[in-house]
Amino acid sequence: MIQTKYKLFLLVVPFMVFTFIFAYLPLWGWLYAFVDYRAGRSIFEMDYVGFKWFSMLVYSEQQIYEILRVLKNTLGISFLSLLFSFLPMAFAILLYEIRSIRMRKIVQTLTTIPHFISWVLVYSVVFSLLAVDSGVVNNLLIDLGLIQKPINFLASSDHIWLKMVGLEIWKGLGWGAILYLAAINGISQDLYEAARIDGAGRFRCVWHITIPGLLPTFFVLLLLAVANMINTGMDQFFVFSNAMNKSSIEVLDLYTYNIGLLKGNFSLATVISILKTIVSLTLLFSVNRLSKTLRGESIF
């Protein structure tokens, strides 16, 4: 008995080693935020500078402006995508109204495809569709007489947040709907039958049964998204950023990369990572508390 338990524990060891090295050791690296980083030296040989790098973030007016700009981009894009976060739910509801199960599966499979296309490729696809010389979109707009000259959509910062969120939706709509489809399957069919007998039409069934049935799932996902507002990731923004739109597309994660790995200021980049962690933890716990007060149920 004891021997088998011991063996089961052996299974866990590789994972623990991996996690320790790649998730816990980097936390030790937070110390770099308090020293003057110099390549090739151990941390004990670097000069301790206290909170110098933290105050560096708000050191000059220009620096404050930079930070505010990056924060504005990050929160702006996240907020926009929160606004549209009901779309996967709406899509799943509509999908469920398709009577033929075969058709429903086909539509679902086809709309999930974009999720599997990498951001590098999404960029190339968008780039060809929006090309300035005889791209499909520009051609169409000119033919319709809506514009006179082709527009270089990607090389401008106009509505860049909206464009980014639009692409995110294009990529993630079908994928995001899967979870809601699962939740709809969990709603008891008796409710629909009872409602139909009482004379409720399709729309009223959706309004009074499906939507209330999905709201708990929606809220959990929404709150998690709020908690993650500051972590936009950078895969998407990195490929779409260029000299023309950089000032409006540079999100916090991208900024950390630019500061740390491109400009080589390891200490400042670490400071930003630390602050980011603190902010997202605060958000997570406030959101959880909010959920407790509003719905009487915590999200984790």
Partner: protein, 308 residues
Amino acid sequence: MSAIKGDGVSQSAAFRRGIRESRSDRIFLGLTYLILTVVLIIALYPLVYILSSSISSPAAVASGRVWLWPVEISFDGYRAVFQNDQVLMGYANSLFYAVFGTLISVSLTIMIAYPLSKKTFFGRGPLMIFITFTMLFSGGLIPTYLVVKELGMIDTRWALLIPNAIWVWQVIIARTFFQSSIPDELSEAAEIDGCSDMRFITSVIIPLSKPIIAVLSLMYAVGQWNAYFDALIYLKTQSLYPLQLILRSVLILGNGSSVDAADMIKQQQLAELMKYSLIVVASLPVLIIYPFVQRYFVQGMLIGSVKG
């Protein structure tokens, strides 16, 4: 379980048809189909356009004559792709990373998820805290980079396989799957019959876990195939680059690596020629696998995503 559910659905569909649809129902249904059609077109049009462009003659594409169907069918683009050493190497590298990365990730994930799913497992609570902690605190870009550097993984294939091998979210999905679809009685019965834990895993758990293994493999493989950022920061040698990074230099940066002007123009023409076929070829592996995995997929997600 799923068979019963399936019957319930089709029964109620028949039931729904049984009741006469009112006019407002038909309007609602019409609107639904209209919206779904629009969504389908928006989701698929870009992909169809790329596919058509990839088998049209470059001249027809450049002059904007291709908008839905291929014009003047030509496979020059594909020929160029398969003659380009850089692209082929990237392809081979990406296949390598996807296959081995997935192997490593899926094994590790199952190895941790199964013990976690057993209520009798010693140290289950502390281990869960150990894992949850990593979801809340992450070192961030630079500290992680420095750890990878200290380990001497910079500019080696290991840098793409090891540091991101385990996604905590996948562990949780797998754990929930094991908990809810493999009854405790099964392991108790096996234990009474003298079956060891290892034997139980290989001859009971693995065969019963096809759906979740399929889901985990797909997610990890797609993740590896589509990732470029780790390669961007950890790799320097071009012969190690995965396809996405090569694509980025060919498609996005227009490949400015050459100084010679004549060479540049040649490169650009080549990039223009290959562009569409490259996109198709690069997304093919993932799109081929997905429909096969999909049936497991909804099943695995359904069970795996239930809170608990």
